[in-house]
Amino acid sequence: MSAVVQLLLRRLGISLIVLVGVSMLVFGIARIIPGDPARIALGPNATVEQIAKLRSSMHLDESIVVQYGHFIKDLSRGDLGMSLYTNRPVTLDIAEFLPATLELVIVAGLLMIGIGLPLGRWSARYRGRLADHVIRLVSLLGVSAPSFVWAVILMLLFAFFLPLFPIAGRISDTYTIERVTGFLLVDTLWAGNFQAFSNALWHIVLPAFALALSGIGQAARLTRANMIETYDKPYIEMAQAYGFSGRRIANRFAFKPSLIPSLTIIGLDFAAMLGNAFLVEAVFAWPGLSRYGVAVILRKDLNAIIGTVLIISATFLLVNLIVDLLIAFLNPRIRHSQRQTS
């Protein structure tokens, strides 16, 4: 068995343990909620009998351990219960709203990587010079405000004062796109409707930037710090001694080794965007899971709260898993650890 597969299995195991822990934690939090979930579910006009009936069907009369058991049993069948807010199965709601959030987070993540890493690289290459100072300052500013502040500022500047981008939504309502993946950028291309694709792209620019700004700053700072450390390494001096250009050294010889330690944190930041999406979706009326999450939390919609937190945590773990694998792929030391030990 290769080292990567071993690593994958070990990480999967840990993720599973953690996921069980998360489910207990969330379940526990949801069950100490004040008020009777059955009464909330049925509304103010419900009779005592109706409430009692629902209580027993929701297993609310049993101990919390038994309740958790039922919860896990249902979960294993892919059943997260009904949302009181939308009157639909929670899994259906999540399936409907998750793609919008993922799309936003993925685009923001691409921006973070596509802009943050080059900025950090540039900053490190010209360390101590003006470009470095400017980039450091800008990236520090980026991480110094919550994403909702950026959302509001970007909206004010580029949607109101300079009406370059739309205010809200994922696509203009003149387009009807058949839902295949739920990712509009994919579905529009799938349908071969490039106009709709550009419209969707145009809609995602501001929210994605608002979400990505602090990540861009974080990625730039991290890349810079790690690259500066790398620049002190003998192999960089060797590359200089062999006459490689500063650009080539920055982009290749110094970048790849410093990318590996940056990736873990960038992965965490990427995953943290799932949480920050709560803030950005609220500003841009983005019909995603986070907005759904806030709505159900405000309405104390227990099944939906548990389902949302669980699915976000699972996504979070999945992202971290992917990052770990990516690191293993990039870092020959991990990839070839078996050969080294044998």
């Binding site: 008020g35 009157n87 205010i167 009326a285 405000l298 309405r299 919609d301």
Partner: protein
């Protein structure tokens, strides 16, 4: 590869404007999620859906009192039974013809589900089919506003529903609730094309509607949910939205009006209330309640809802019953702040003001209420009473008011007479027999009030009803269970693409919330 790139570039640089289509689209929004099942309908968004997708036996007369036939051609009453003759030219959107069976089924379903506005029909013992086009309702006891309440009995397609019963116990299983919450089963001028409770409901014109509908009426209607005020404001400015919800803060409405938006109004059959929990100390002492009611700054409240010089989201309250309804006080007898009286009442109160801490709640979905909470807080501070503000989402509020001890000291509410009759406004609020609902956070138990409410609903002649409600009004002011903020008028900012006579012309107004949004009566100008 090259083709692909070129196509992408073309797509990116292509103008994003709409390709010209002959079809007209009306876009409007509502704060709450729309409930499509008419038996569960209760709030404004639900009403808009219901009045367009379904029809009722009768409709309120436009521009005046009384009712006209709609699905029913005519009706008659004899004692406690009412008989309706149905039109013979009505078919459901499914193609099924409308029969008396559907009416009976609709009432049974409403009563069986027991949610939404079904309480209006608690007094109805049964509905009976006389022949295919004749139906009789039998009432348990005299109930003057019965005909008026039929505007809240949408007629559903029995055959279609029975074909689509979901899972459930008993013969009727789930009464088709699963089906009805996502599909239309009505006769209405619009049918549901898609319904996404988080985003929007899309409706299209029903070509086979039994009444003639103007060509200019919108072909497609998009009812969007949960848009932020700033979003709505920007969308209307950019011509991408047509009618804003009434919950838009007044500043935003007035900013839109300055930019050239037109204003629609729907005149009040309701009011804005600050409801005091009469079971909770110190508000279980009427003197304390009277003190707060006199300390409230009514004139500032009116200023807060002004939109332009001549349009406001409400007018000064004159008492417990909105101006224009049975038993209301004259329009010039407005309520005003009186700190001296407030102090007198406070002195007479059995509780020590320094130990009071009044909980003022506001509904999270209605940001305007936060300002009223602050206004109250500052008024109470002037009286030497401490208070704190608590923001509550609607669903939580509706759950908490079920129990008197969980109900906040003061709850802010917009309440409308759902049928236009004062009975439907006041009975649910104040009668001691009604359970705790969002309408009745006072948890009032007052025998005089009960007596007047009963008299109001059973009195035969309009004069007798007016007298009963007049007495009720006086009693309510005396015990001050509620601070009457202002008589409400809904204001909607709208683009100039749409004409809605029922919302702009008093002679075409229905006097019933939401009915002004009958899309078949609107006209798109471009």
């Amino acid at each position: 590869m090259k083709y692909w790139k070129a196509a992408l570039a073309a797509a990116v640089f292509a103008s994003t404007t709409v390709t010209a289509v002959a079809e007209t689209v009306l876009r409007l929004d509502e704060v709450a999620v729309g409930e499509l099942d008419p038996a569960k309908a209760s709030d404004y968004a639900d009403s808009i859906l219901m009045f367009n997708v379904y029809d009722t036996l009768i409709l309120p007369a436009q521009g005046g009192p009384g009712h006209t036939g709609h699905l029913a051609e005519s009706w008659s009453s004899e004692g406690n039974s009412f008989t309706f003759k149905l039109r013979d030219d009505v078919t459901f959107q499914s193609g099924n013809p409308l029969t008396a069976d559907d009416v009976v089924f609709s009432l049974d379903r409403m009563k069986a589900l027991g949610s939404g506005l079904s309480y209006l029909f608690g007094v109805v013992e049964s509905a009976e089919k006389v022949d295919d086009l004749t139906v009789t309702f039998n009432l348990e006891s005299p109930y003057a506003p019965f005909v008026a309440s039929l505007v809240r009995l949408p007629i559903v397609d029995k055959k279609l529903v029975m074909e689509n019963l979901g899972e459930g116990d008993g013969d009727m299983k789930d009464w088709g609730t699963a089906f009805m919450s996502a599909n239309s089963a009505g006769t209405g001028a619009y049918s549901v094309k898609s319904h996404n409770p988080q985003e929007e409901t899309v409706m299209v014109k029903n070509a086979d509607y039994f009444l003639s509908v103007a060509d200019a009426a919108p072909d497609t209607v998009r009812l969007r949910y949960g848009l932020e005020a700033a979003t709505v404001r920007a969308l209307i400015s950019k011509g991408e939205h047509d009618i804003a919800s009434q919950w838009l803060p007044p500043e935003v409405v007035s900013a839109l009006a300055k930019d050239g938006a037109q204003l629609f109004t729907e005149a009040g059959t309701g009011a804005f209330y600050f409801k005091m929990n009469t079971t909770k100390a110190p508000l279980d002492d009427a003197n304390c309640r009277l003190a707060l009611a006199h300390a409230f700054d009514y004139s500032t409240a009116i200023k807060m809802i002004a939109i332009s010089d001549d349009i406001s989201a409400g007018s000064a309250a004159t008492g417990a019953i909105p101006v224009g309804m049975y038993g209301s006080n004259p329009a010039d007898q407005i309520l005003a702040q009186d700190m001296d009286k407030a102090k007198e009442y406070l002195a007479a109160c059995k509780y020590d003001p320094s130990e009071m801490d009044i909980e003022v709640s506001w509904i999270a979905e209605v940001p305007l209420e936060e300002r009223f909470a602050l206004l109250m807080q500052s008024n109470f501070t002037a009286l030497g009473i401490k208070s704190h503000i608590n923001k509550m989402p609607w669903a939580l509020f509706a759950e908490q008011v079920a129990k008197a001890e969980n109900t906040p000291h003061i709850s802010q509410l917009f309440v409308n007479a759902v049928t236009g009759d004062p009975d439907t406004l006041l009975y649910g609020m104040y009668h001691s027999s009604t359970p705790g609902t969002w309408q009745s956070p006072e948890h009032l138990n007052d025998s005089v009030v009960d007596e007047m409410l009963d008299a109001g609903r059973s009195a035969a002649s309009p004069e007798d009803r007016a007298a009963a409600y007049s007495k009720l009004n006086a009693r309510l002011m005396e015990i001050a269970a509620t601070i009457y903020g202002f008589d409400r008028q809904s204001v909607f900012a709208a683009s100039n693409r749409v004409k809605a006579p029922a919302l702009t012309d008093a002679s075409k107004a229905f006097g019933l919330d939401g009915l002004g949004f009958s899309f078949r009566l609107m006209e798109m100008t471009e």
